[in-house]
């Protein structure tokens, strides 16, 4: 068991914001646009999806920009104090072609003058967890960085780009998390990140590999959660909610059972109304669940998993214990 070091406690999530564009579309629209067969339709309904969001011509950059605007309009963050901007995404069309830099462009547009700006990707939805690690390590090594932004955005350009093996309903979304040294309400506890690299081809794998993925996916989730909770400074019962991605409502009760917790431990309320917004799920769920403000002496454990085999988790804990 590894104690949480002071280094691990220095960063918290001060605030977060997100945008889901336009009005929600129904699952039936999603199924119709993709000419989904009965088996897939039945499966997605069983997985809890009911609505999703579509950007309808807006780009990922547009959604990222909108999310940052929502955060800054609250007036708590001075743009010039942002020392680090990380952009993260899953889909290839959610990032401008090099050498253009979307995070640097956001820095110019919003006045994050002099901020280090770069992109983290290729871990799919778990790229967000990698961002947390990078922010914390950079803050630890550079006392000049007080505030950092993790901006996430993705847009599904066309139903035709839905892979035939895809089993998730994806929503277009943009989100931003403001990470702050010694944030007021919470701190990020242990962070775990693991990659099963043999699944680097994502959906483009053989039936045998797909079977192996299915064999390992839930176990990998359990393992990464167990390691995170073992390193957490809070007793197990003080971790009050499990915050997974917004997909597969049938998967999480099994995880909760294996962890020895009650069914209400899982936060799955956003699967039906919002679907899976890839890297932005974390910000969306932390905001909607009120988890940026954990109750005194408590915390939540957040989980991400990616089809390319990346699994991550972290705890977000009440600041009072420090």
């Amino acid at each position: 068991m590894f104690p949480v070091s002071a280094h691990e406690r220095i960063v918290g999530i001060e605030d977060a914001a997100y945008v889901l564009p336009g009005e929600p579309h129904t699952l039936d629209e999603w199924l119709s646009a993709r000419k989904a067969n009965d088996a897939l339709s039945e499966r997605l309904r069983a997985d809890g999806y009911r609505y999703y969001y579509h950007a309808d011509g807006l780009t990922a950059a547009d959604l990222a920009r909108q999310a940052v605007r929502v955060l800054l309009d609250r007036g708590a963050l001075e743009p010039a104090s942002v020392g680090l901007v990380l952009y993260t995404h899953v889909l290839p069309a959610s990032i401008p072609a090099p050498p253009e830099s979307l995070p640097a462009r956001l820095a110019v547009e919003f006045g994050f003058r002099g901020a280090a700006c770069f992109t983290v990707s290729q871990l799919h939805c778990s790229s967000l967890i990698a961002c947390l690690t990078i922010v914390r390590d950079m803050m630890a090594s550079n006392p000049g960085i007080e505030n950092a932004l993790i901006v996430s955005s993705d847009v599904v350009l066309s139903p035709e780009l839905t892979h035939r093996n895809q089993r998730n309903v994806v929503s277009d979304a943009g989100a931003v998390m403001w990470l702050r040294r010694n944030a007021r309400r919470n701190f990020i506890g242990p962070i775990e990140l693991q990659s099963l690299t043999e699944f680097h081809d994502g959906y483009n794998i053989s039936d045998a590999m797909n079977n192996k993925f299915n064999q390992l996916v839930q176990l990998s989730t359990v393992r990464v959660l167990q390691r995170t909770l073992e390193r957490c400074s809070l007793p197990k019962e003080k971790i009050t909610r499990f915050v997974p991605p917004n997909f597969s409502s049938r998967a999480w009760p099994v995880i909760v059972r294996v962890l020895g917790r009650e069914p209400g431990f899982v936060f799955d309320e956003n699967i039906a109304p919002k679907a899976h917004a890839l890297c932005s799920d974390v910000a969306i769920n932390l905001v909607d669940g009120g988890f940026l403000d954990p109750g005194p002496g408590t915390g939540v454990v957040v989980h991400t998993r990616g089809r390319s085999g990346a699994y991550g988790a972290f705890t977000l804990q009440s600041r009072e214990l420090q």
């Binding site: 079977n211 064999q215 996916v217 839930q218 176990l219 597969s248 998967a251 099994v254 294996v258």
Partner: protein, 89 residues
């Protein structure tokens, strides 16, 4: 469990495995020669089966070394687990 490579022990682990699988599936009995898919084990709850194997066979499971699909039977899984527990030559 000191050794796992005798017929009696093999039968004992298979019996124990089937009882525990019946418990997690909330049924009275499971057939050891029926495929996992037919028993009701799928990609969502196979994690419970793997963790169960760790308890029954008392050795850490390398799940990547297992070959499990919907047609794998408990008897076959028992054979795999015992083989995995044997000391290498």
């Amino acid at each position: 469990m000191d050794t796992l490579n005798t017929p009696d022990k093999d039968a004992a682990t298979l019996t124990m495995l089937s009882k525990e699988v019946a418990r997690i599936l909330n049924v009275t009995k499971v057939e050891v020669d029926t495929g996992l898919g037919e028993l009701g084990i799928d990609s969502l709850n196979v994690v419970e089966l793997i963790l169960l194997c760790e308890q029954v066979y008392r050795n850490p499971v390398n799940p990547e070394a297992l070959a499990i699909d919907q047609y794998t039977t408990l008897r076959e899984l028992d054979r795999q687990m015992i083989a995995a527990a044997l000391p290498s030559a």
